[in-house]
Symmetry: C2
Subunit: 651 residues, 2 copies
Amino acid sequence: MGKIDYIHTVQPGTGGIDDAFLNRYVLMSGERMIPYQWSMLNNDEKSGIIHDFRVAAGEIEGEHIGMVFQDEGLFKWLESAAYYVADHPDSPVRAWAQRAIDLAERAQQEDGYLLTWFQLKAPDKEFCNLLESHELVCMGNVLEAGIAWHHATGERQLLDVAIKLADHLCEYFMQDGPAGDLVPGHPGIEFCLVKLYRETGQEKYLKLAQHFLDRRGTDPEVLEKQHEREWDRPPIFPTWNTFADHTYMQIHAPVRQQTTAEGHAVRASYLYAGMADVYMETGDRELFAACETIWKNLTGKRMYITGGVGSSECGERYTGDYDLPNDTVYAESCASVALALFSRRMFQCTGDGKYLDTAERAIYNTVLGSVSLDGQSYFYVNPLEVWPDACEKNPSKRHVRPVRQGWYQVACCPQNTLRTLAGIREYIYYTKGDTLYVGMYVGGDAQISLQDRKIALHVQTGYPFNSTVDIRTDSQGAYTLALRDPGWSEETDVFLNGSRVEDCVREKGMIYIQRRWQKGDTVTLKLDMPARFMVSHPRIRANSGRVCLMKGPLVYCFEEADNGTNLSSLRLNPDAAVAEVYEPDLLGGTLTLSVSGLRIMEEGWDEETLYRPFRVKARKQELRAIPYCLWNNRGQGEMTVWIHSSGSEVS
Amino acid sequence: MGKIDYIHTVQPGTGGIDDAFLNRYVLMSGERMIPYQWSMLNNDEKSGIIHDFRVAAGEIEGEHIGMVFQDEGLFKWLESAAYYVADHPDSPVRAWAQRAIDLAERAQQEDGYLLTWFQLKAPDKEFCNLLESHELVCMGNVLEAGIAWHHATGERQLLDVAIKLADHLCEYFMQDGPAGDLVPGHPGIEFCLVKLYRETGQEKYLKLAQHFLDRRGTDPEVLEKQHEREWDRPPIFPTWNTFADHTYMQIHAPVRQQTTAEGHAVRASYLYAGMADVYMETGDRELFAACETIWKNLTGKRMYITGGVGSSECGERYTGDYDLPNDTVYAESCASVALALFSRRMFQCTGDGKYLDTAERAIYNTVLGSVSLDGQSYFYVNPLEVWPDACEKNPSKRHVRPVRQGWYQVACCPQNTLRTLAGIREYIYYTKGDTLYVGMYVGGDAQISLQDRKIALHVQTGYPFNSTVDIRTDSQGAYTLALRDPGWSEETDVFLNGSRVEDCVREKGMIYIQRRWQKGDTVTLKLDMPARFMVSHPRIRANSGRVCLMKGPLVYCFEEADNGTNLSSLRLNPDAAVAEVYEPDLLGGTLTLSVSGLRIMEEGWDEETLYRPFRVKARKQELRAIPYCLWNNRGQGEMTVWIHSSGSEVS
């Protein structure tokens, strides 16, 4: 065993994005989300986060405000701020971030420990209740923020906080005795420790990540036993035991023996991401085999078409194969961020483009859809079907909000969405040896380090509304360009300076073009991405008899604003022609899909009749679909992704 | 205002049932359910009910076992036992019941109070927490049992217990001061008080019922205020305030101003039944108008086709109009019993057969379906669609059990089902003046008192598997026979001694035949009841694109045992011919419905693909449906009432 020859990500700060589709999100994330979220951190009523750090730093008197995992807000924001500052070094964000970093440094204990809830409320009980405490996953955010800030600015201050914290963790959890048996109740520090190992070269961080993975599930009850032994206080979460079983926290079996995506969907993918990262650094094939098996189960049986995962609100968790209800769904935004993190790492392990198809599915549909176009309201839950009246009146659907919400006290999703948008570059470009990978098609410039050279690329595209991607290189020299060939593109054509390239290598979802590039060489991809009617596996009961529309990676949906009330009464014939219309004034400019369908009539029904012998009338209706990620930017109303099929389904 | 000229029910003990369809339930209820449930009452581990009464009577030492409403089990059982003993005076059930009655009498306090939980656990807090206590609804069961036992045996012992209790209630709640403002947290004593008024002629019981209705909702917070003022203990139900809002207990508005079926579905119909009963005795049109409005909302917008009501598990309650999910359903058995009680009273008020259509819908589908053919396992929740794997793995469906359950500690549903089966005669025959009503078609004999005469009838029918009903009178004389003409029978033919009767009066769902009857005269009804494809109102999202099969009052369903796994992949063309086949060896003898349908194939799908461009293949499959009430008598498997329609829905 030993480190494998894996693909490396490219950090933010290596070029600017200028993309017709993504600009609305990337600009908004920097100009609106970062300032708005900073104001939330500073708002004692909304979050209390800065307040808690100030109390912990001894600057003000007070009680801790908020949840045990309240701190994560500061460090996720700092990570996002770092990505932004990398591209905008003169922004005022830098000063805000510096204040937050100074504060974090002052709040950190002498021994390196840093989590304000425990520091203020249970200082003698640090690491005594890993079952409930979320300590380690929150500390992972410190590590990520420290690394990102170091990359962005070259400054070590926050990285040193992270190192001091990580050193404390190594000391505490690698000791002999009971602490050495413990594992995080909420996984998520493992991949952060690997990141810190890569950043510092200190093997002990990798060893700790490995240790947590090796121990996990060898004794499924280890955290309950610790709780019994060391926690003499009321539970942090009183209803915890109604949902937090062993699968909930992926502690039901040793990780190498896990075969299905289980439990809390954020924890799950954070864990799997850590497994993939440790495999990359150690070559531990068993870890990778488990990742592959779980990934197949996750994407082959337990994922919404939008890349949403975790179909149950209770425990925000996976349920069983093919159980993907659209209206009682959970599909937390954070879980799709985590799925993207996991999938990207699987690509790094393998070079297989299919993993990026899934990352893109999760990001372009659920993650983008989780934020409003003004950046100030958010979906935590991402339904595929919403009937506002039922959300209000039926408690089974109460968690499904028909409109984006304001800031929750623990606003995990808005911050995870922000760091994904601010750090989107990590999904776009990758390198390995003399190969430069383009994993997602996003307009803009890039200056990528490849084997001691700097390669400059310029991408121009209307993707995903348009199927053409032009990639111009402004550097000359020999290297390989690897372009993702999406699984949904049944025939992708490649041109070099206008001439079709017949001899490029196509392998596992990637197209490889190896040559000595001249300055100005332009590769053009023509993706095969007409709007398509999609159907789901017959075992997904909830989608039985239904179809939906996709164009490339984008799932489309039908809103009441375009199609009237009661979307369940609409019918689509999957043989119908779909018109693609770009509407520049709609939702910041979007491609809509129009198709002739039917509406079941209510004629002949009265207020007193619910059921009658079969007699149904329909009339024609032109239906219009918009990208799922753009839904609910025009007020409250019904929405559905899946529409009942008429006619030809069973021809 | 004054008593209206309403229709009277006919008690059990007025003839025997001998009916090809119902025998399996009626015989089973007497021979299996009554003894089994008696054994449960005597089982300290399963219920502790007899134990609690023995402790309250001072016969043994011990703590109260069970819930605050534990006692209801004894009195619902006694009511059922009374109905059985009325027809079987020599049964050993009589001795068991006598023991229970003696015990109840000994447990009753000197002042008449009788509820063992308060007597043993909070003797100083009687009636101090009507918000949570369930005291009054449980006491209603004492009244009903006392009356039923008196009818069955002529013995007053339990009736006197009931009277002593009711007198105590009148004294307590009709006083000036705060107690006079109180209303039951769980309605259900109101109709029992009216019953006791009818039994004893004592107006004060009617007055108390009226008082509770008049006060209800005038101050929606009256019970919270009492709780705040008088209850200094921990809540009886710690999670109470997560679901028990004002609509939950129908206290959100004065009852005469309520317009929709709201809240906990059992409480709701119990309340409405009381409103109808008080109207009958007082002529208070406003009460009746509210009943009519609510009933229209309930049956026109909030009822499953099976007569199940209350679509949400949280609060076991109504949600909103047309919100009737099949798989996350609640539809408690008790709620359908309560709906039948309410509907029967609406018939008594109006003579409109449509109300009995609904009572029959609730009883013949949900109530019968709630009990296994061996009488020892029960559905508390009655789903219209079950996928056992999802029930196990998805917490949103965890309350939906894929198989009938054993005895719950508070086995409300099994006992409500038992008293409905044992007392089914109350739904069959009715009288008013010189009119004898036949409200349900059940084979057997009846001796009915009508204006000082005894009318003997003999009914022979294969209903509901067969459309012919023969009703022979063995008495002569002039009177009117009123026969229910079900709403689903589009053309009901009537014959007298073999000749078609053209001139009978047909009015509001009833057929009236007035004549001087000769001994042996036989009326034959030919109901129009072929198996029919049914469709639901287009606003019921859950049934969009689906059809189901009914024959007369019976809803049919499709089980995995007959149709294979994944019932969602089946398709039915509502133009297809339905074959009706009587299968004598299946489920105690049943008519099945067979129809040629389709199954969507899984060919071409693999383990790693959940979504693909539209391409669907189907093959023919013969489908078989059985009556919904008989489902899950052949082991665990999928079941669905509604099947996706193919083809002609939108033609």
